[in-house]
């Protein structure tokens, strides 16, 4: 078997303007075959616009998209045959059954009739929907709808998957199942580009692209990205939480303080110096400090701090609604 060495997705200078607003600015990146690339960014950063340009749903103002070696502008049909695109609101027919929805998409994508039954069966099994083939779309739970949407998007056996926040509003159990399916597809050779607002999902991708105000401000292995934080992270477990937050966030030694789960993460220049200092300050104001330790930065710490640096650098000017 020969492995095609060219990347599955190559994006160059991709730009999209809506009136006066530059939604996506001069984006360039490549996703090698077999990778899972996460597109991470605040709301309004341009994630959805980027995905829509990659699948050809909207035309770029400038720049090129090459998928599986095919230039999207030159041969959109050939690109469509190679990709699965799952938008945030995938249109399933509520009045059709699971099986009928799959049949409909098979027809739409021109899957040969003799191949349909076998593919549908495999996708249903894969997504754990085999026992629900006769259930109407309207009667599926949120997690099941997402799995059916994915199955429909895969009926033509695409090699590149473009998924726009596929797990938004899905409960933790269904989310785990959904990712199990993505992993299996990935192991079978699918390249996946997925936008997400879940940090744990981004953390397990091979590359994380951080999009901010239409620009790709970082794209690298999440492990490498986590080492880029300017400063060190101290984790506090302290009560009462409201008072602890006020004191930690109000300390000049602390660059940013965030509540993560039931603990506080404070980014400081020097953890060894800050821990005794902040612990004393908290205790003096009646806060019980259960634990204060230096920890490795999480992806969320890095995300929050990179965005805070960008915002501070621009003083919020010209950001408009896309803050």
């Amino acid at each position: 078997m020969t492995v095609d060495p060219s990347p599955a997705i190559v994006v160059q200078g991709l730009t999209r303007r809506f009136g006066d607003m530059l939604a996506v600015k001069d984006l360039s990146f490549a996703v090698p075959r077999g990778e899972i690339f996460a597109l991470l960014g605040p709301d309004g950063a341009g994630k959805t616009t980027t995905l829509r340009m990659l699948c050809g749903a909207i035309t770029p103002s400038r720049g090129t998209v090459v998928i599986d070696g095919v230039d999207l502008r030159r041969d959109p049909e050939a690109v469509h045959a190679r990709i699965a695109y799952m938008p945030q609101r995938f249109s399933l027919y509520e009045d059709l059954t699971v099986q009928e929805n799959l049949d409909f998409y098979a027809e739409l994508f021109g899957v040969p009739r003799d191949a349909r039954a076998a593919r549908a069966r495999r996708l249903l099994e894969f997504s754990g929907l085999s026992v629900f083939t006769n259930r109407r779309g309207a009667d599926l739970s949120g997690g099941m709808k997402q799995k059916l949407a994915l199955a429909c998007a895969l009926i033509h056996e695409p090699r590149v998957l473009l998924l726009d926040e596929p797990t938004a509003g899905v409960d933790p159990v269904s989310r785990r199942e959904f990712w199990r399916i993505l992993y299996e597809l990935n192991r079978e050779g699918a390249t996946i580009l997925v936008s997400t607002t879940y940090m744990d999902e981004a953390d397990r991708c091979t590359t994380v692209g951080l999009l901010y105000a239409g620009e790709l401000i970082a794209a690298e292995d999440p492990g490498v990205m986590k080492r880029r934080l300017h400063g060190e992270v101290v984790e506090f477990v302290a009560e009462p939480r409201a008072a602890a937050r006020r004191i930690i966030a109000g300390s000049t030694e602390v660059r940013s303080a965030t509540l993560i789960g039931d603990r506080f993460h404070a980014v400081v220049a020097d953890a060894a110096a800050a821990i005794p200092l902040l612990t004393r300050r908290l205790a003096a104001q009646g806060v019980l400090v259960r634990n204060a330790v230096a920890i490795p930065a999480s992806l969320e710490d890095v995300f929050v701090s990179m965005i805070a640096e960008r915002r501070a650098g621009r003083n919020g000017a010209g950001e408009g609604a896309h803050g």
Binding site: G41, P42, D43, G44, A45, Q88, G128, F132, A138, D139, L140, S141, G142, G143, M144, K147, E165, A168, G169, V170, D171, P172, V173, S174, R175, R176, E177, W179, R180, Y183, N186, R187, T197, Y198, M199, D200, D203, R204, P222, G223, A242, T258, L259, I260, G261, D262, L299, E300, F303, V304, I307, G316, G320, A321, H322, G323
Partner: protein
């Protein structure tokens, strides 16, 4: 009802035909606390909230909100509560200030009151400078905060939030939760549903609902202590997809799932299982950077609670949970 309970449910039940969407719920929400309602899609969360808001009547049992019966006094309840869901209705073609003015009119506030309160919310929610932007042009996080403002302009004593942060990025989600925290400080009671387990940690009390029944209730720390059956091992390996497959196939392993970049495995006894796990991974040539017992996260507990009951993505969604 006691002075200190904002909500009290007594055998609260809602049937749709033969299907029990909400099945004899009993709970109390102390005034001024944040009460989190968790469960798979279709477990009955939205149906419960709709009954408490007086939009849907119970078919059995009863509930009181702020001392009023939901079946008899729903008009009084509606005037005293705030409600916001992921599908909140902002007028996209009105500005931020106009949306607030519109809702002030709906609640019958006088001109002066309306102006004061809108101004107050704009400052509190960090919307200053964005008053003249169209709601439709706001990104998800800003929209959410505006919608919350519209929902609480009449200063309700009780606020219901149904997946308010679905699909919102981590920075905006954190800002939103800081606003929720300020409600509790003012003595306002909050009932909130979410699929983000890190958010659930911020609640004073959590209730897990499954197939219409509450299956666990308590403070987050208490639930983690009590409801996690078995022990948790965390495994860090560069070849996590392969490791996951190996581990999931072992009879000692009850549940294996990716957690960020690590694998979390539930076993009956971690000391007993450890050598078997090591051996199985080594047998497939999977190198392990770290394998150690860890305290469970709320997400681990959620998955454990649901899977113990044989549920994946609740196969029977309640009609009330449909969009």
């Amino acid at each position: 009802m006691g002075e200190d309970a904002a909500v009290r449910a007594l055998d609260l039940t809602r049937a749709f035909g033969a299907f029990l969407a909400v099945d004899h719920l009993n709970f109390e929400i102390p005034a001024g606390t944040v009460w989190g309602f968790l469960g798979p899609n279709g477990a009955g969360k939205s149906t419960t909230i709709r009954m408490l808001c007086g939009i849907l009547s119970p078919t059995e049992g009863r509930a009181e909100v702020l001392g009023y019966d939901v079946a008899r006094d729903h008009e009084r309840i509606k005037a005293r509560i705030g409600y916001m869901s992921q599908r909140f209705s902002l007028n996209d073609d009105l500005t931020v200030a106009e949306n607030l003015a519109f809702y002030a009119g709906v609640y019958g506030l006088s001109g002066v009151e309306a102006r004061d309160r809108a101004g107050e919310w704009i400052a509190r929610a960090g919307l200053r400078g964005r008053e003249r932007l169209l709601a439709g042009a706001l990104s998800g996080g800003w929209k959410q905060r505006l919608a919350l403002g519209c929902a609480v302009l009449h200063r309700p004593r009780m606020v219901f939030l149904d997946e308010p942060t679905s699909g919102v990025d981590p920075v905006s989600r954190r800002e939103f939760w800081e606003l929720i925290g300020t409600f509790a400080e003012d003595g306002v009671t909050v009932m909130v549903t979410t699929h983000y387990m890190d958010e659930a940690e911020h609640c004073d009390t959590l209730a897990f609902i499954f197939s219409g029944r509450i299956i666990a209730m308590g403070a987050p720390a208490e639930i983690k202590r009590r409801e996690m059956l078995g022990e948790l091992l965390e495994i860090v390996t560069p070849r996590y997809a392969e490791a996951l497959e190996v581990l999931a196939a072992l009879p000692e392993v009850r549940e294996a799932a990716l957690f960020g970049r690590a694998i979390h495995v539930t076993v009956a006894n971690s000391q007993v299982a450890l050598p078997t796990l090591r051996e199985a991974l080594a047998g497939r040539g999977v190198t392990v950077d770290r394998i150690a017992p860890v305290p469970p996260s709320l997400e681990d507990v959620f998955v454990s609670l649901v899977e113990r009951r044989g549920g994946s993505a609740g196969p029977f969604p309640s009609p009330g949970d449909r969009p």
